[in-house]
Amino acid sequence: MTVLDTSEASGMIMNKTAESAGMLAETVRAGEHEVKIAADNVSVFYGEKQALFDVTIDIPARQVMAFIGPSGCGKSTFLRCINRMNDTIDICSVTGTILIDGANIYDAKIDPVLLRARIGMVFQKPNPFPKSIYDNISYGPRIHGHAKAGSEMDEIVETSLRRAGLWNEVKDRLKEPGTGLSGGQQQRLCIARAIAVNPDVILMDEPCSALDPIATAKVEELIDELRERYTIVIVTHSMQQAARVSQKAAFFHLGKLVEVDETERMFTNPSDQRTQDYITGRFG
């Protein structure tokens, strides 16, 4: 497959960019995991209102990082900074830097469209396109020119669906609309769609909150498998879920990043009083 070859090229572009932006791209080792995403002093404003205050965090490669915190604390906002989805909101402005593989993604030279091809995203409510299952998966590779329609594309579709653990359930009805699947299947379809463009990072914003317990279990299982290949950031409102799927967790409160730690450590022995209060159900 030629698809994979583009990673070098884009890596090149990113390196160039990082240098010109005057940033030194260090590769910080976080334990045994290298740093995939490094945010430095990120603040986000919606118009006048500041929603995020000076967030600095390193997100390790090929692990699952969970963002937790009460409603409105800025989890989604930060997540959407990572693939520049916030660009689509007029009044939203971002300061600070976010490096991915050492390249500043807010550099003027970075084309957000290409960036998003490298950083997949899965949303709270499953949002398949109202098209066939096949078209849902093939859309991304098609617009990025990863493959022509034909056997090459068929292969991508199959691989993606297999990785998302959906292949066996849908292989006989690829031409049926994606919206006809059950909620859990739809969410896995969305994950497959994100995988299909061959990203490095997958961002998930409360991916299970619209699912029933069984579907949730399946998606969680999938996340666990995916972290072998992908760096995953997941926002969740359920501490139980965070405990189940993530290796590291970040606790946000009122727009500030309060604490980042290994999930287990944070849930058993939080270092901040606010984290403690939140975890024990004192609020939220």
Partner: protein
Amino acid sequence: MSAITLLLIVLTLSAFGYLWGRGRAGTLKRAGAGLHSIPAYHGYFVALSCGLPAFLIVLTWIAAETSVIDQIVLAGLPAYITEGIEASRISLILSEIKSVAAGRIFGTPDPAIIEAAERYNSLQNIASLAMVVCTLAAAIAGMVFARSRLSPEFRARNRVDGILRWLLIISSILAILTTLGIILSLVIESIAFFSRVPVLSFLFGMEWSPQTAIRADQVASAGAFGAVPVFWGTIFISAIAMFVALPVGLFSAIYLVEYADTRVRSVVKPLLEILAGIPTIVYGFFAILTVAPMIREFGTSLGLDVASNSALAAGGVMGIMIIPFISSFADDAISAVPQSLRDGAYALGATKAETIRQVLLPAALPGIVGGVLLAVSRAIGETMIVVMAAGLMAKLTLNPLEGVTTITVQIVTLLIGDTEFDSPKTLAAFGLGLVLFLSTLALNIVALQVVKRYRERYE
């Protein structure tokens, strides 16, 4: 070659450009270069670079050709024909030349005319040939140039997106231009009007009889341009219309939203909407042939004196037309009241009517008011019903059984047929049009503000 064929050729060229550009990008890609954009976008870029300029050239050419050729032909006429002749004659000569050129010869035309006709024909040929040549040259040049810019780093997608974006922007500007056009065309003529009739005496004058003598030796009305009675007539008829439409529209909306089951609703709502879709000229007939005689008969049986073109008939029928505006706006507004408010009221033990009257209607009021204002502006601007059913006599009266006249009626009667732009009579129509435009504008702005404020509250 006709412009249509030419455009088709340009289209074909663009299609070719698309294939060419895409092919080139494909080659680059196969050669191992990482393309910024997928090949199709390179194709689109070449196609747009080829088609757009050519298309523009054809359009401008068509727009300009006639007058340019006319000028050339005229310039070539011997002096004895064009000497000292005013413009209108010249257009006649031109049309004679064109007749001759088309082979329709009456009598014996001047030899110079025949010669001009020949010249006209040859110019015409040259021009159409030149148009083809220029257009195709532009198309091909655009295509070749675009093609030469293709490279792996070339941001074809961003370019194409940019071009499309500009097309979109131009489209939205067109909507603005329409407004500007309206304002300009109204304002210019209105200025001419107000230079003859002072603004104040127009706005506050109590006498309206614009049918001035159209000749020096005629005795007609003295030409009073005090528009108050016309404004009054407009307001009066609109008020009557609202008097009919408001309760009917409101009560039907209430019934449909809160009482009717979905089956009734799905039948009645489209039926009501038909009322708004019926052409107003049909309402005009309905008013003069059915409603006006009915009112008259009824009035006479009560011993009342009913004018044959009573404000009541025109306003009433207009009200019927406006019902759906009110009902659908009220419908939307009431439906948009959050279910939680209904629940709140029901949970307190309120009956349906109490909930509607005391909770839903107040909450929906801004939306309803917005709809009502829009309906009023519709009523004020409505033309055909009043042209056919209302009177021409400007009268300050409170009696709905008398005839009144409206702004739109006056515009139509002052303008139909007679398109001379120099008498205050004709210009008055534009003055009235300006007032009409401004007042509906004001109403719409108010309506929009009301609706907007209301939206903010519930979202």
